[in-house]
Subunit: 139 residues, 6 copies
């Protein structure tokens, strides 16, 4: 999975959205990795041994918490890109931007409420699409 993500990122400028001074450094990278982590957590939760051991329950609590935190991180990072990086001229070029962002945030909330591989994949696809639009504006 990492390989595929890397492949997509490789030829692009790797910059990062992390402060609002603004310092002019924006990057969909962290949002993508957070979405991927949500997906990994779903996979790992489903792969837990089918017993009632403390070890399994300890892992379950930790994985649900990590899933929750990274779904929240997706929401935060996408919101920062949308509100601080994307400008009116980008919106003109990509009139679907607002709706895409809205549905990406909703997809992130959905992954919190279940342990659902399909919803996690949908989140990742949407975040990747936001990233694609981002890199289009850099061309």
């Amino acid at each position: 999975m990492i390989g595929r993500l890397t492949a997509r990122l490789a030829p692009r400028r790797v910059v990062h959205a992390h402060c609002d001074i603004p310092c002019g450094i924006y990057d969909p990278h962290e949002a993508q990795l957070a979405a991927q982590t949500v997906e990994t957590m779903v996979t790992k939760i489903k792969a837990l041994p089918d017993d009632d051991s403390e070890a399994r329950r300890n892992s379950f609590v930790r994985m649900v918490t990590v899933k929750e935190e990274h779904a929240e991180r997706v929401k935060h990072e996408i919101q920062v890109l949308w509100s601080d990086y994307f400008k009116p001229e980008h919106l003109e070029k990509f009139p679907e931007l607002h709706d895409l962002v809205w549905k990406t945030l909703k997809a992130a909330s959905a992954t919190k409420q279940n342990v659902d591989a399909e919803k996690a994949a949908e989140l990742r696809a949407k975040v990747d699409e936001v990233a694609r639009l981002f890199w289009e504006t850099k061309k």
Copy 2:
């Protein structure tokens, strides 16, 4: 200022957006108060005595920090309402919602970068407009 805000809120259901279980409790109240706090901080910074005393500089650092935190809180609260509360049927009724939210978030970031009464007032007006749409959906 509080008086006016209260007047606007009085006849409405006072509920609150604070978790994404979801618990079904949403409220633009905190976003409005955060926007109002940003405005109050701008007023208070501008009213600081014109000297170089430690007391003044201590207050300046604290007020800029509070302004920053509440502008960030506006962004977070508005994002939660938009992504978790507003549904497709609301969007149909208020097609301007996406753009209003986008500009509200941008207005919040703008208040961080300066000590500007006009920008703070603009933020408050936009947050109030999101709140108005919210309460319209409750009618």
Copy 3:
């Protein structure tokens, strides 16, 4: 439940305790909503389906965490009102204030340690009583 809360709040000034510049804006609203959320979480946990599915366990972890966070929020908000808003003249008028606050904080800690509807109701009643005293001082 929201309806009842709103009814109680409606004719009052809706202001908010959120910074200690001080900006003079205090409000028991957030404490009340946090107490109500604790109560809602207890209800929701008890209403979870009686199976061992991932979905149920995912919800259980999330709801316990939300319960924990909102019980903690009650404690913080009540402490802020007590230490920053209430003045010696209020204490003279309400000599029971200190003990009420103490027991409210203890009630909040108690809701963390169990999933107990009675304890959650007790917390809400105590927070409402602090709010009542607060609004009395505004008359």
Copy 4:
């Protein structure tokens, strides 16, 4: 200053208030050190060179922030001891406890609002008094 604090702590059980499982581990140590840090920050701010260099202003911002955070930490730690450790039987023995805690929290808020050595010393004295009562209950 550290020496004096250590002297006071030396013969006592050094335990710590840090979770509310409850794990039964409470300690006024962190509150005392936080109060002492507030005092140290006031001293350090007052000792800054009297110029307008970036270095001085960089230190000023950092020291005000550390003062703020540790005054807040005092409030949190004292609230935890008061609400989670002290029991009705302690209150009977120390009927002044409620009022002492209240004034300690107010003293902490006061140190935020200025750069005032006297107020910082007052905070430390009050926190030490809470600590003294705490250790009295351990005898």
Copy 5:
């Protein structure tokens, strides 16, 4: 357990690492208590009643979370001591310092991944050894 810890600390200077102004106040105390809390949580989790009640599951989630947070706190506190307090001359005297710190951090991460009394004891022993070196430098 507290008794033993206290015994070790009693004759030492009790100072504390909490800010990086720097204020010159460092102390391995918090790291030791955090390691001890991890150990206490493991003991408490293993002592939970063997049923599937909400009360037990509520406690389990809370204890795993506290274990996680305190293992993380150990890592943070030990890193602060190592990077901010220990100087080249200390390293010369204790050439094993780097490796000890590295293994202490790894031991902390290990306690998160299981509910394992042996690993918790190993963490505590390593943290105590860092504390011993710290106090050696104070002689």
Copy 6:
């Protein structure tokens, strides 16, 4: 500056250190960007207009805070890589690892205490060297 960073990262696997389940995803990317942000903040602070306007002082407070947070983030990210990713076999191959990490953390703390371009550059160079060792282990 971004360009140079990107050039260095381009042919490498872009993965990320963000949780300790462990999920096996580690990446020095965030540490590098945080170090770069520290450097950017130093440059921006030095480029502030030489006046005493509110706008300048507002920016100064914000930039010092961002510098502080990103220096802290460098410390956290480097600590995670060192303690969770690097294994004994890596240490055998790079016996300088411990000392490099130690000095990198010390360099991060140093950038907090001043507004010093040289110290910021030194931090970036050290973080890049940790990243280089990381990628060497991936070959």
